[in-house]
Subunit: 318 residues, 6 copies
């Protein structure tokens, strides 16, 4: 059964991952638990009324449970009222990995695309640095989300974001062959790798102390310098790559102490923006009916988007 | 001889278009003329010292002259000191069209690309509206610049900008086929057509009264409504197309009274930004030596861009 | 009995209009309804605890009910606890119109004042356009509020706002006869007519899709062009009137893609501001005791206003 | 002969007031003087080439001279080239007062209007304070400009501004009799009186040290307190009047440490804005041809205003 | 027992000051009271479920009660559930003064430090004005907090803030003896004295009408003028002192109509900022464990601060 | 003879350093040179009219010349008209170092103060890192200015700035011993060391490519990481020191991608601000007469400062 597809009035019965648990007390003074359940299809808040001390000890974040509950509504959002719940047991044969949202493209394919881009590079300095980073972070690079929320916030989200950007970059380069494609590809692959140190992990992603005090941009600018020293690379490519990463948020208020001052850095910034926005909009509009507006989207300046009705019709007529 | 390629210390002798003329008086009280000469390769300021009443009457903007002058320097820019000058005569066989900067792609090719995009559209309402506008503005659409300055500020600049954006849109659509390509193409072709009424023309482009009081966005939102009425088209496409045009500057401070609230409107805005910036950067960097910074670019937030030296080398080595 | 005059601790019994209904569940899991009751004197929130399915089906927005309830307090605001409630029946002889807040001036008088202003105009182009719009929107122009909230948010609010502005304009013109009064009057009467398409109606006013995607300013700029074509009017008045409407919010951040660039447009903007603020302040201060501060007023930059005690005394002494 | 009416190519011969003098050296190393001449019709820059030590000693600011010069043009503005110049002599019978721009209404009439407004007041506290201030600053109040530039920047400009605002206030009060007219009138008469200490005087107006360090708003808030103590007035009127003055610039960025928090303070701010803008626009448009745009106006956010052609026609037809 | 030191799960029994009381109704419709208890160690919210009319009459703000309750948690903060409560009686021997948070330095010491600074002054005008103010406000100056919240928000907080700033000023003057120490000391002692009229008092501090309409800065600028007149002091010191107070918030958006335009005014602003921030940070970090982040601090731009773990170790090793 | 002390009308004859040279052409078409002369007392612009090719070859930046010229005035600033000029010869016995402005404290003393601070540190990790940096940059650290303009823009300016800040830090720590003094000292000494790579040098200081693309903050964050690796230091001190440097500009718009999130980082930011402002103000006020305003100071938000007259008198009387 799919958490993200439940409708108000239905009964849900099945396994789910506990993503968050909070204790509360009703205004009448009774204890209850507010849980967030999730699986690959989405998330839902749930209430366990009259919870016990035992419930508190058993129902832990990042564990799987078998749950039966009724889907109601609270402030316009679906909310489950739990009837019965128990932790999953080894014999249930369920695995955390099956309950976490994943990129819509297989990891192997993401790897192939990134390796292909590296293979196409002709500048040996850029190629060696990029290759070394992909090797260094081999595991997490294909596991981490691209952000704790907002866009590509799912397993392999970072690699999915990189591959999406490489696609856009190829299109731009085909039209403007004067662009240094190697530099653009290198910037794309490296630009967010600092997030592997900025974010805590894949489930219940939060910020590390290092992430809060330095941020993924400064972390990566430093890593590039160190990697170049290790590989004994000394060309201007090192400085320029550092600048690509440093400036990719576009301006100071958005976290880049220097704005893009190289053509490929400017393009990197714009492609990053476009891929992130296409991802956010795609995910929200998928769940919006034609002729309706979406909810306000926080990271798109609180805008609410309209999904025209005619696009669907044109498609059907075609 | 090419105005845009002259170097300090050289003597220029040849024909040039007068783009602007201003009268001045030296601190010693003597009259002189400051002219701006131009041809397809660029512009240069020139001084005619000790000018006469007759000079003032003969040397008019938008006329062609034969000029001999010495190239000096003023505030870091090349400036010509005119030795001799006379208006071109019919027997000289020179034509204004040969002295105006043009898009780097032939008009016929620009036309073909736009017609091809219209031909690919499946939504009849969008297709009919777009086709009708291209027919209505057939002449100027392929003649006007996209702006009086900043980007695509040359003959056929508007059509060149449209074609550049269609290319980017195709790339985005290939990666994200869920996007309504017809809507995006329609938005791209129409988004700046209001400039044909906002701007005065091709040479010495300025703003019309209508352009100043309403702006090209409001002009076009109104034209779409009128065209739809003329074509007796009533679907939601009309409203959505108007919104595409209305919101393409992205936010209120930049001239769009409504921000993009449709996915394709958001993409239109980002593609517009990207094509304009690629055009500006391309033109500036073409005249910048590797390893140097450009001058500050007004419409890129006064940034000065660096042209890495290694890109050239990689290219040569390849 | 008057909803807007109830005090904490009293029992309300009488008819009221349901302006909004929302379903909720107590933290103990029991269903209840939150209603907003209204009549010509104001609004009040009410709670119907332990509501039934039947309640949900009977108690619909925009219907009238007979209700008995106790007035309590919640977060500093009066709130009714419903004891008994039933839908009004035909035999009750109550009409929706009697429960909606109205402008403090009779519709007929508002009509007279606007017609009088049109009659005074000497410029035939302006006069014909304005007259045609008043005829076209005859019904709604005197029915709609001027906004969904903030100022003149009651039946005939738009016409009341227009008449208030005409009064201020007359005063300004008397002092500065060099102002083009016809143009100013025309701008005042037309400036917000786009709201008749932007807003959904009179009760529970919300935004239409067209209103969200284009906004009342762009809607009206387009309507003026169309009306002029229909009336075959071609003078500069059309462009200038469009600019008056386009610029009346004063600056880009407030929704006007062009700032006022004509004297009368600047005055229109300032008079609009003044009439809206006088309306808001008048309504809030009416319910504020001398020597007290009002609540923070959202659309007056969250300011809280003080009502001096001496004004009343001076008045009484006079 | 009128300085402000000279046209390029004419010869000016007549008396003028020297408003400013600066010494310069040509790039050829020769001394010259740049003077600003003025009379009641306007100002003009002038150059005295090859000036002598004696010239420097004789041609002093705020003195009158007899001058003969040719009107040329410099950067789009008229500029005089001086042929002959000598200081005015007692026998010339010219007086500084005849060369300074004045309010277009006679001082006596301005006085009458202000006294009339005071006479209409019923609140004795407000009336006594206002009367005392008018008495205290009797001379300068009817002499000073309202600002060193921007609006009402001429002799009696302050009183002219007050009278303009009183007219607008009367109009607003007639429509909204619930407004405390006495308070509004008091606020209007006092709001800018601090400028009598902030500004240096009537000719070549600059800021005093006190004006720079405290500003006219703080100066006046303090004066009201002191005046009330002298008159032994203790009611809330004192505090409220101080607030009226304190908040009349509308918000912190514009110099008011508190925004208007009383209805009449809000109206004072809006009326101040309207009278200042009407004054600026009126003066600029008077010198603009129908169908033309004005120059950019600094204190109207650098906007350039259009003067419609049809207003004039309507007037003529009427 | 200490309110500020209670931990979740404990039972509190002891006296406490009621700082605030609000009535509420549960979603089940039952009345309850929300109280804020305080003593010298801090504050805590408490709930009295099923409260009676009698409770409402007895449990008043600024009274002391004997309370027994269980410490639970609500939204991450400790909250007491009241078991039993009664007003304190004369025989209980408790005094309000013992329940109010105090500056960590004795009032006598604060007085000594301020008098010492005055004693050191050599400029007789500055010294006499400052001495007169300290005498005039003798009582409240050593009683009031420096603000209603944010920093130094406890009894004698204002004097504590002054003394902290005098310490910093001394350090700056030692390094830069060219600074006018008398002026800086005078500015420090007077800068916030307007708060004695802006704020309502020591317990449950709120803003007075005068405080809201004028603010402590304008109040004090005026008081300085009045005091100087009373003392018949006329030197430039008066104007300069007024400017020190007027500009000490640093810029218009922060409440200073003029920015600092005198060296000592600039230093006063910076020292004010530093002492306030040191106070806020010190108090928050005291309650934060090494290696942890604080909650977001409202008046430090919502920043959350990290307390390094190593500082403690270094200290212990030392 | 001192360049910075020359008065209008005097003749200067002596040696000077050429800091800048630009070629120009008079409006009459003749070549001239504009030079900037400097010595330890200041700078002055100079004109060499009718310059020759030989002049251009001999008069090079960063060379010393013997010059005779007359001091005139241009736009309110002193300007020299050169009568005679020749390059200095070995036999003249003049040295560049004698013509460059220096910190007002001897380098040896600056060194002593910094070493003393390092010696006082108890935290071995912080101490070793700081000591290593002082050793690494031994030469330039005591040679470079702290900025290319604005504050401490003279030889040894960086070290002078560090020492000024250490003095302020000591004062703050004495009053607030809970502050981690070692961390604060370390942050102060390292915070601007990145400028040794950001700036080009001591004379005619400009920005390096690295300085433009990365900035001194990012450069130093990276250097700290590298230094810690070299010294094999791994404690939290490294991360915290990096944060100190990263955040010392206070907010994103001022170049710090993270705001201060550690108490000592906040203090570092405030002390940096205070020392820079004291330095700027001190230097400007030194050349301002009592009772006068300074020119507008660019990096103090274009403010003009007043120098009270009474401070001097108090000093004299003392």
């Amino acid at each position: 059964m799919a958490i993200g597809k439940q409708k108000v009035g239905e009964i849900f019965e099945g396994f789910a991952l506990i993503k968050d648990v909070k204790k509360g007390t009703t205004s009448g003074g009774k204890p209850f638990l507010t849980l967030v359940f999730g699986d690959q299809t989405g998330e839902m808040e749930a209430k366990l009324w009259d919870s016990t001390k035992e419930d508190e000890q058993l129902l832990l974040p990042e564990s799987i449970v078998l749950v039966n509950g009724e889907i109601g509504q609270f402030r316009g959002k679906a909310q489950m009222r739990i009837n019965a719940i128990r932790p999953a047991q080894p014999t249930d044969g369920v695995h955390i990995a099956d309950f976490i949202e994943k990129a819509p493209v297989a990891v192997e394919e993401l790897k192939d695309r990134i390796m292909e881009a590296i293979f196409e590079m002709k500048n040996p300095n850029l190629q060696r640095i990029v290759r070394a980073f992909v090797k260094k972070y081999e595991e997490n690079l294909f596991l981490y989300p691209a952000a704790s929320r907002n866009h590509h916030e799912y397993t392999s989200g970072l690699a999915h974001h990189i591959v999406g950007m490489l696609g856009l970059a190829k299109g731009v380069h085909d039209l403007h062959p004067e662009i240094d494609r190697d530099l653009l590809y290198a910037g794309i692959i490296l630009h967010d790798i600092g997030k592997l140190r900025e974010l805590s992990g894949v489930i219940s992603t939060s910020y590390t102390t290092e992430g809060k005090l330095l941020g993924h941009i400064s972390i990566m600018v430093e890593e590039i310098a160190q990697m170049a020293r290790e590989l004994q690379i000394e060309g201007e490519e090192v400085l320029v790559l550092q600048h690509m990463v440093l400036s990719h948020h576009g301006k100071a208020e958005w976290g880049s102490p220097k704005p893009p001052m190289i053509r490929e850095a400017e393009i990197l910034h714009l492609i990053d923006l476009m891929d992130a926005r296409l991802n956010m909009l795609g995910r929200v509009l998928e769940n919006t009916a034609p002729g309706e507006f979406t909810e306000r989207i926080f990271s798109l300046e609180q805008r609410s988007f309209y999904k025209p009705a005619f696009s669907v019709k044109t498609e059907l007529d075609a």
